[in-house]
Amino acid sequence: MNIIETANITKRFKPLTALDNISIRVGEGEIYGFLGLNGAGKTTLIRILLGMVTPTAGAVKLFGKSLDKRFDRWNSIGYLVETPCAYPNLSVVENLHVYHSLRQLTDKKLIANIIERLNLAHYADTKAKHLSLGNQQRLGLAKALMHSPKLLILDEPVNGLDPEGIVEIRGLLKELSASGTTVFLSSHILGEISKLASRIAIIHYGKLLDELNADELHERLIKKTLVKTNDNKRAAACLNAAQYHAALGDGEIAVSDKKAVEKPEEVAKRLVENGFSVKQLYVFTENLEQYFLRTIRGKENV
């Protein structure tokens, strides 16, 4: 079953079209990464998924149910939208008590459990206004996770966290996904998305440019073997003579053939046999950030 399903979602804030015909499907247990520059429409889509913004056109289904007045699965959803905010004069525990009541939860242990799980025990009685940005983020995540939702919608979940916190949250999200929780997240930290997401969508100026799973992404990333020798110019000519596509770059030779990427040792062997000294050889793989920029720039140039 699709946990999230949008059909031709369009949102206009005259004269701007914030979202233009966005149709996505997110399956159970997936971690769906949503990428886009500032103002691309990520947060607008997240707010539409949470019923905070009404689309100009199109429909949303969550857990197979239309998102309308009769939608009754809000306790299956946890969310964190943009900057985490809390009641500044209330402590961490008191803030969680507010949402424990509003979510109509009965198990009092849920608060203690989530505080423990997100390493907030030391700050349980600290007022929210005295928390660091990272701990405010943890409190936001605690509100989103307290009721063990089946769908987590997170906007920039690792903002403000230190490296240890990022690793910890990444582990937590992977653990939740493994237990069947669907995670929909947007992030500017593309490296983070690449480590987490099982599927990725790229949005630009309100349009969905690309949607692909981890295998498809791996296929589409540019890969090449980069070599440095004692004479790059002659070495490149040597490789081209051997049916490789070698191009001289900035102090190195880029060999973009599939065979060169799959068997870089053959490239080294060829060069050594022809009397060149190989100073450095490695296989370069484009990262998600480079792929993302290439995708949106490619679209802009069309």
């Binding site: 804030f13 607008t44 707010r47 949470l50 019923g51 905070m52 913004v53 009404t54 009754d72 809000w74 306790n75 959803i77 969310y79 939208v81 943009e82 900057t83 905010c85 809390a86 009641y87 500044p88 004069n89 209330l90 008191e94 008590h97 507010v98 949402y99 009541s101 509003l102 979510r103 109509q104 007022k127 509100k143």
Partner: protein
């Protein structure tokens, strides 16, 4: 009903550690304290001679040093000051969600948006009633301390009825303030609105139409008007109409607007 109680519980948690209740109680306490000072000055001719401006003002108001006068000042204080203090309360309860950016966390929950707003209205009502009780309690304590004459049970009941009916009328005018806090997304719009209603109440009452201006009605009901035309059913109806319109506008807007920020 259970959902409403849980939402009310959430609202009451938000009051914890809040200085706003204390600030509003202190602001409101100025009325009984000042009425005590009036009584004290009236009872001591030497003090009255020294505070000539104050005694002149009291003579103008035909105030004597007794329970009647004390309750009159408390009730009139409620008619004017109540609009301001209750307006401040409503602005804080409804506007803080925008100022603290917590509004987005109230919108996608099993507790409906209307229930959350109703809980806020109940919290606002309870808070305002608590302020009114503290205010009148302090007034009575001051009256007992000064050993004012003319206190009897029946008379006190009539005075309290006047005081709390004025409180109720003032409370009804809180719903447009709540709407403006939601519409204006913060404190500024409702507070500006409260200030404007106070100014317009003075002007409109001065030209003799106060009985048809809802925000002047509680003050006129408290007896502050003197020679003003008396209030009629239409006067009270305008207050009720404003209360109902403010309530439904706030519920409608809260439920249906887009939340972009």
């Amino acid at each position: 009903m259970c959902n409403l109680l849980l939402a009310l519980r959430a609202e009451l948690i938000k009051f914890k550690h809040s200085k706003v209740f204390l600030i509003s109680a202190i602001a409101f306490a100025l009325v009984p304290v000042m009425s005590g000072v009036f009584m004290l000055v009236m009872r001591h001719s030497a003090a009255a001679a020294k505070a000539s401006l104050l005694s002149a003002k009291m003579e103008m108001m035909s105030v004597s040093a007794d329970w009647d006068a004390l309750f009159m000042i408390l009730t009139q204080g409620m008619g004017v000051g109540g609009i301001m203090v209750f307006g401040f309360t409503a602005s804080w309860i409804f506007g803080r969600e925008y100022s603290d950016s917590t509004v987005k966390d109230l919108l996608s929950l099993p507790t409906s948006r209307a229930t959350i707003l109703n809980a806020k209205y109940i919290a606002c009502f309870l808070w305002s009633i608590a302020l009114a009780i503290v205010n009148v309690g302090l007034g009575v304590a001051i009256g007992l301390l000064l050993q004012l004459p003319g206190f009897d049970g029946e008379h006190a009941f009539a005075c309290l009825r006047g005081y709390f009916s004025t409180t109720f009328l003032t409370l009804l005018l809180g719903t447009p303030v709540a709407f403006l806090a939601i519409w204006g997304k913060g404190y500024l719009s409702p507070l500006a609105f409260v200030a404007l209603t106070l100014v317009f109440s003075q002007i409109i009452a001065a030209v003799g139409y106060g009985q048809y201006f809802p925000w002047a009605v509680p003050a006129l009901h408290s007896g502050i008007g003197g020679e003003q035309p008396p209030l009629n059913n239409l006067s009270y109806l305008t207050v009720a109409a404003v209360a109902v319109a403010g309530y439904y506008a706030s519920i409608f807007y809260w439920k249906h607007t887009d939340y972009q920020k």
